[in-house]
């Protein structure tokens, strides 16, 4: 195959990341990293399946500005996400906190796995029980042995 063909996924990857990124300058690389991680973990409320980092919506840009302002002023990541949660609710978090309402969300999959394992165990056990049943009674086994003896030489 032609070499340019192999370059195509690379090209896709580059355009993906170029979607909606302003040039930000930070006085501390740790802040830059906190900002980058935050905007990926926060949901844009306009295009709800995109993070703040991905979305090109007007509001997403404003909210990125807010996150930048908070992080650059020296506040922590928690304070930045707290700022958004106080205004928009837990919905902005892609990782919602564990509480009554979200228990099913957090532990539902685990419950399903446990349930599936139990069903598998039950199926396995009934199958083993069926295999364990003897196919022939003792009389039949004896007859089979006799027949084998009889025709051993053929």
């Amino acid at each position: 195959m032609r070499p340019w063909f192999w370059m195509m996924p690379l090209w896709l990857a580059v355009t993906q990341f170029a979607a909606a990124v302003e040039v930000r300058s930070f006085d501390d690389p740790a802040k830059a990293q906190a900002y980058e991680e935050l905007v990926r973990d926060l949901r844009c409320l306009v295009c709800q399946n995109q993070s703040l980092a991905d979305s090109d919506a007007d509001l997403a840009r404003d909210l990125r500005d807010e996150v930048y302002r908070i992080i650059e002023s020296g506040q922590t990541r928690e304070q930045a996400s707290q700022f958004l949660v106080e205004r928009y609710g837990d919905f902005v978090l892609y990782r919602p906190p564990v509480r009554g309402m979200t228990l099913l969300l957090w532990f539902g999959p685990l419950v399903m796995v446990v349930l599936a394992l139990y069903v598998l165990y039950r199926i396995g056990r009934s199958r083993r029980a069926r295999n364990g049943q003897r196919l022939m009674n003792e009389e039949e086994t004896a007859r089979l042995r006799r027949l084998r003896e009889q025709y051993k030489d053929q």
Partner: protein
């Protein structure tokens, strides 16, 4: 009877999916319900030299309506707001969100002005304080300046008569 188990699971799934279809993903519950209107100090659209703050809400039940001249759904609800203002049931205050002053003035001149006044939030900072993410949005604010309800999306006849007006009457009956 064992064959009933997958059938039962199937019906439970159908039930969940049916409920999921009825839910509106745009209706995100606001954490601001039961909290005072966040502090702001903004100029009015029509008289920029006058500043208004959240303190101005005290004493009267208010519909705080977020609108913008570029917002199509705002146009949809605007006639209803003008009619409501005519009935003089409740004080309506506007938050002109990320708009241009000329466009906003033009809109009010052309389509009618239902607002006691509109505050001018050009940068959308107060919008963020209020958790606004899709104009139009409307807050019902009680006499103490506490947000009691948030309507996301345009006000329709049924929302107004079925939800907003009963709530407004109830809040107006409360002791100030």
């Amino acid at each position: 009877m064992r064959f009933m188990i997958p059938l039962g699971i199937f019906f439970v799934m159908c039930l969940f999916l049916a409920i999921g279809l009825k839910l509106d993903p745009r209706n995100v519950p606001s954490p601001l319900i039961g909290k005072p209107v966040p502090a702001f100090s903004l100029p009015l659209v029509q008289t920029p030299e006058r500043l208004v703050s959240q303190e101005d809400f005290r004493g009267e039940v208010t519909l705080f309506n977020v609108w913008s001249s570029w917002c199509v759904a705002c146009r949809q609800e605007h006639a209803l707001l003008v009619a409501l203002a005519g009935r003089k049931l409740v004080s309506i205050v506007g938050l002109n969100y990320k708009d241009e002053r000329d466009a906003a003035m033009d809109w009010l001149a052309r389509l009618g002005n239902p607002y006691r006044y509109s505050v001018f939030d050009a940068e959308g900072k107060t919008g963020i304080e209020l958790g606004v993410y899709g104009v139009p949005e409307t807050f019902v604010v009680d006499r103490k300046g506490v947000i009691r309800y948030k309507q996301i999306g345009p006000i329709t006849e049924s929302v107004l008569e079925g939800t907003l007006l009963p709530l407004i009457r109830q809040l107006q009956a409360e002791a100030p």
